[in-house]
């Protein structure tokens, strides 16, 4: 490795990767030749993070991987760089995504129960194609409806270290729940009582 430092190799890899790098991939950079151990790697990553101070980049962790990204203060200038405007998503799409993110694994019927409106196949397809959600299984109830969950790409896109970083669901009107105890709410949303009739996509 001569005088090329570990830190610089990691920086180079993070600059070039264009996607989050796991510690495993960082170790693999070194091939057979004396790969650094985890502690050394983490120390070097801390140095990389420190080097970002005062500059336009930041080191962001997504689950067990790291990436370099521009700080949000630079968005006004950078957005002029790209002719394409960032995609906008409809409320229906975002509501569906948020419910999947918070309640996963969740069926379409359960999403509909919360939203009070049919969830169109286009919404599910759009989110699936965007690779923000995926089918994670099937619920063991009649019809075996698909259960959906969010993906790693979802975390990456919304700059989340993990699902735990999602802001906690606000307790709206927590002081009075019209006779419903707090503990009851999550349970209902589990869909244990089945979607109300109003939410069915096939009701006239």
């Amino acid at each position: 490795m001569s005088d090329i430092q570990l830190k610089h190799i990691l920086q180079a890899a993070l600059f070039a990767a264009g996607e989050p790098l796991t510690l495993e991939r960082m170790v693999a950079l070194f091939g057979e030749e004396a790969p650094p151990d985890r502690a050394t790697l983490l120390a070097a990553l801390a140095e990389v993070e420190q080097d970002c101070q005062g500059g336009p980049l930041e080191l962001q962790r997504i689950e067990n991987a790291y990436r370099l990204q521009t700080r949000r203060e630079f968005a006004p200038w950078l957005n002029r760089l790209f002719a394409e405007r960032p995609a906008r998503y409809s409320r229906a799409v975002l509501e569906t995504l948020a419910i999947i993110a918070y309640r996963q694994p969740v069926t379409r019927g359960e999403i509909e129960a919360i939203r009070g409106v049919a969830v169109s196949s286009e919404i599910i397809r759009a989110l699936t194609q965007r690779e923000w959600i995926r089918q994670v299984g099937a619920k063991e109830v009649p019809g075996r409806p698909a259960l959906y969950g969010t993906t790693r790409a979802f975390l990456e896109h919304f700059n989340l270290k993990s699902l735990e970083e999602l802001p906690p669901l606000a307790e709206v009107h927590a002081e009075a729940n019209a006779g419903l105890s707090d503990s009851e709410l999550p349970e209902e949303a589990e869909g244990t009582e089945g979607p109300p009739a109003a939410a069915g996509p096939d009701t006239p």
Binding site: L14, A75, A92, L94, V117, L169, A178, G179
Partner: protein, 257 residues
């Protein structure tokens, strides 16, 4: 308040008391994501307590919207109509005199609606928070600089000698089943030597016959080389050239290019 799009332009707020002309229906349909959303809007607009909804008034306003929706997009109005029916039912139950000994909470026909509204509102808030997060391509941009000296490394396939032998075994078994000739019975050393010699004469052009023999290999080596040359000749891969009697014999690869 939710954002509204009118022909691509963004309004952060709905007008305080929007009366909807039919051609603005697209706006409603896009800005409200469902009947609960519309209901919440009506309640919040008039600054009403969600726990104490004046059902009659809310239902009246709600129906105005739904009637307009029905006129344009019936299939989208379906969910709204179901809600309208629910509202109407609550209204009618509230008009009925309450049984004297009924439990107050259970008796309020609005309870289920309120529960759903509150649950929905939690997620609506979550949507706003999610939407406000910095996103890749909007507030954040990924770094991907080119690598000078980049070339694609293609690691060798993971093939072990065992895999190769296993493949050979199966092919031999198969061959034995259909072939009558004893292929693959040739001495490997002659075959290998054939490749080596062919290689050499192709690179060197005319090669002296004697130069192909390495005395260091001993008698067996010499025999193998000789057999290899004979076989190459038999398969017409090489030819011999001798200019005069007793002159050195040269070998050259046959090429017709």
């Amino acid at each position: 308040m939710s954002t509204v799009l009118v022909r691509g332009e963004e309004f952060t707020q709905l007008p305080p008391d929007l009366y909807i002309p039919p051609d603005a229906l697209e706006v409603i349909l896009e800005s409200f994501s469902g009947p609960l959303d519309l209901l919440l809007y009506l309640i919040r607009r008039d600054n009403l307590d969600i726990l104490d909804i004046p059902i009659a008034e809310v239902t009246r306003q709600y129906m105005v919207y739904v009637e307009l929706m029905k006129a344009v997009k019936l299939e989208l109005a379906a969910d709204y109509l179901v809600m309208a029916a629910a509202l109407a039912e609550i209204k009618s139950r509230m008009l009925l005199p309450r049984p004297a000994q009924a439990d107050e909470e259970e008796a309020d026909p609005r309870a289920e609606l309120v529960r759903r509204l509150l649950l929905y509102e939690r997620y609506r808030t979550a949507v706003e928070q999610l939407d406000a997060r910095p996103r890749i391509g909007r507030e954040l941009h990924l770094v991907a600089v080119p690598v000078d000296g980049r070339r694609t490394e293609r690691p060798p396939p993971q093939v072990r000698m065992d895999d190769l032998l296993e493949a050979l075994r199966s092919v031999l078994t198969r061959a034995a089943a259909f072939a009558h000739h004893t292929i693959l019975r040739e001495p490997l050393s002659v075959r290998e030597r054939m490749t080596q010699i062919l290689d050499r004469v192709r690179v060197d052009g005319y090669t002296e016959f004697s130069a192909l023999f390495d005395p260091g290999e001993g008698r067996r080596g010499l025999v193998v080389t000789f057999l290899a040359i004979l076989e190459l000749s038999r398969e017409a891969l090489v030819s011999f050239v001798q200019n005069d009697a007793f002159a050195p014999i040269h070998i050259k690869a046959n090429t017709h290019e």
